[in-house]
Amino acid sequence: MKTNKKNFNFILGIGIIIFMVLFVFLGRILPLRDANAIDATLKFAPPSLKHPFGCDNFGREILSRVIQGSFSTFCIALGTVFIGTFFGIIIGALTGYFGGLVDEILMRINDAIFAFPSILLALLFISLLGPGTYQVVIALGIAFIPSFARIVRGEFLKNRNMDYVKCAKLLGASDLRIMVIHILPNTLKVLLNSVLIGFNNAVLAEASMSFLGIGVQPPDPSLGRMLSEAQGFLFKAPNYALFPGLAIILMVLGFGLLSDSFEK
């Protein structure tokens, strides 16, 4: 019963993710209208066979824009998680493995930053870096480091006194070797799950940032920005808000289900 449900989540999650990936990549191959091409005659064109999602206030193809926007959201989330995990692992591994004063100080700072809402932190970073796609990746990435560092440190702390580590030490393995070859693989399971959750949070955070007008710059589409623009036309063209919203939900749902199925 229980495993069934996990399997169901896994299949559904994978299914949604494959659907989104196909949607995004096929969309980029198919000869759709350019996401930024404007056309006065198509202003607020309702969904139809020719324009499945309809057109926006500039007569731009909402389908192309959702595809393009999902793609950039996906990339930004990926970049964010990469930065977060990469530095999270380094900081977490070093502090967890060696301990001592450096650990104490770093972890205090880490906890301090962790206590502070990450979206706020990212906002502050953005005001420093200026708006833009890469800036958002960096800002969110940095904001995500503490949570990863915490998880990795916990795992390293748990593992460092285990027998297999002691054995490796006796056999003369270097610290670096122990950390990378021995302990790191053992943290992967926990890490994988937090990467999935982190990915979800990154998608949501990116959408929030671009909703606030920070991030991908117009006319290039991003899901959050589309939603904030669509707000003004909510009653005239609800499809404008609906489709980018749906894309965010599907993306988060897919990875959410997947991370569920990995839970112990």
């Binding site: 019963m1 205090r108 700072i109 906890d111 301090a112 930053i113 206590a115 502070f116 809402p117 990450s118 979206i119 706020l120 932190l121 906002l123 502050l124 970073f125 005001s127 420093l128 200026g130 949501l204 959408a207 929030s208 909703f211 606030l212 959050g224 939603l227 904030s228 669509a230 707000q231 909510l234 009653f235 609800p238 808000a241 919203g245 965010i248 939900i249 599907l250 988060v252 749902l253 959410g256 289900l257």
Partner: protein
């Protein structure tokens, strides 16, 4: 006592780390508060005079510590753009954001606990399945999108809510609460769904415990067992989650305030960031950190009330 001390120290470190970062960061970015104050016609002489007046020419570190010392004396400085005391400016807005956070929190509990209990009780049933699927979907809705949907449903279709029709708490408290209900709902819904899932999961694992069987065998009803025995144990992880969620709620309110046009701390923060009005930015950061700390402490206290096994002195 030791626990409280430790928490306070952590908060102080939080405040110092974050504010120091922000303070230095703001000094690196291009915007010059003197220019934004004097505007585009200002001459270099006047700009310099103002920089002198605001001590903008001193080294960053010196200014930072001057600010920190003033803060401990309760002086948050003067807003660069409004020229009024930051404290008067902000204390006016705290009730707005605090009400929203509190309402979201209450809504979250009111929604999640009955649903969590219900679905665990009838797990595997049709209703449970439907609720859990809906639950998973709602969980994936970002708060600003749920805000837009709520605007659409309650504002346009049901017409029981006026988007943008915010009234100040000091004018019409009832109207204020009524208005705040909708943004609070927008924040609470996605969080509540996570709580439902968590509570359901932890209740289900309790069903197999020995003490539950014993309670049943004593002739207790299912409801009796759940409320009197299981909930107490099952709710612990939920409380931890709720505490963490409140931090997210405070942060989430910044974005939802934009959707609903609410003049709370979030709006002030966003405009102050764009105006380079850093006395205000710094003050709001301090206040948010403070709120987060208070929440964390409350969670720990509730924890200890429910589960006497946990004592903070061990931590």
């Amino acid at each position: 006592m030791r626990y409280a001390l430790k928490k306070i120290v952590t908060m102080m470190i939080t405040v110092i780390v974050v504010t120091l970062f922000v303070y230095i960061a703001f000094n690196l970015i291009s915007g010059d508060p003197a220019i934004s104050m004097l505007g585009t016609n200002a001459t270099p002489e006047r700009l310099n005079a103002l920089r002198e007046e605001l001590h903008l020419n001193d080294p960053v570190i010196v200014r930072y510590f001057r600010w920190l010392i003033a803060l401990f004396k309760g002086d948050m400085g003067v807003s660069y753009s409004y020229r009024i005391d930051v404290s008067t400016m902000i204390f006016d807005k705290i009730p707005v954001t605090a009400t929203m956070a509190a309402m979201s929190f209450i809504l979250m509990i009111v929604i999640s606990i009955p649903l969590g209990i219900h679905t665990s009780k009838y797990q595997g049933g049709v209703l449970d399945r439907i609720i859990m699927i809906l639950n998973q979907i709602i969980m994936s809705i970002p708060p600003f999108f749920s805000g837009i949907l709520i605007t659409l449903i309650f504002g346009r279709i049901l017409k029981i809510f006026t988007p943008g029709g915010y009234v100040s708490y000091s004018n019409d408290f009832g109207g204020f609460l009524w208005y705040m209900f909708f943004p609070s709902l927008a924040i609470a819904l996605p969080k509540a769904t996570m709580a439902v899932k968590l509570l359901r999961g932890s209740l289900i694992s309790e069903y197999n415990m020995d003490y539950v069987r014993t309670a049943y065998s004593k002739g207790n009803t299912t409801n009796g067992v759940i409320y009197n025995h299981m909930l107490k144990n099952a709710i612990l992880p939920v409380i931890t989650f709720l505490g963490m969620a409140l931090t997210d709620i405070i942060a989430g309110s910044i974005i939802v305030e934009q959707v609903f046009g609410i003049p709370g701390l979030g709006r002030i923060l966003l405009t102050s960031i764009s105006n380079r009005d850093y006395p205000v930015v710094m003050a709001i950061i301090v206040i948010i950190s403070f709120m987060v700390l208070v929440v964390n402490m409350l969670v720990d206290i509730i924890y200890s009330l429910i589960d006497p096994r946990i004592s903070f002195e061990d931590k």
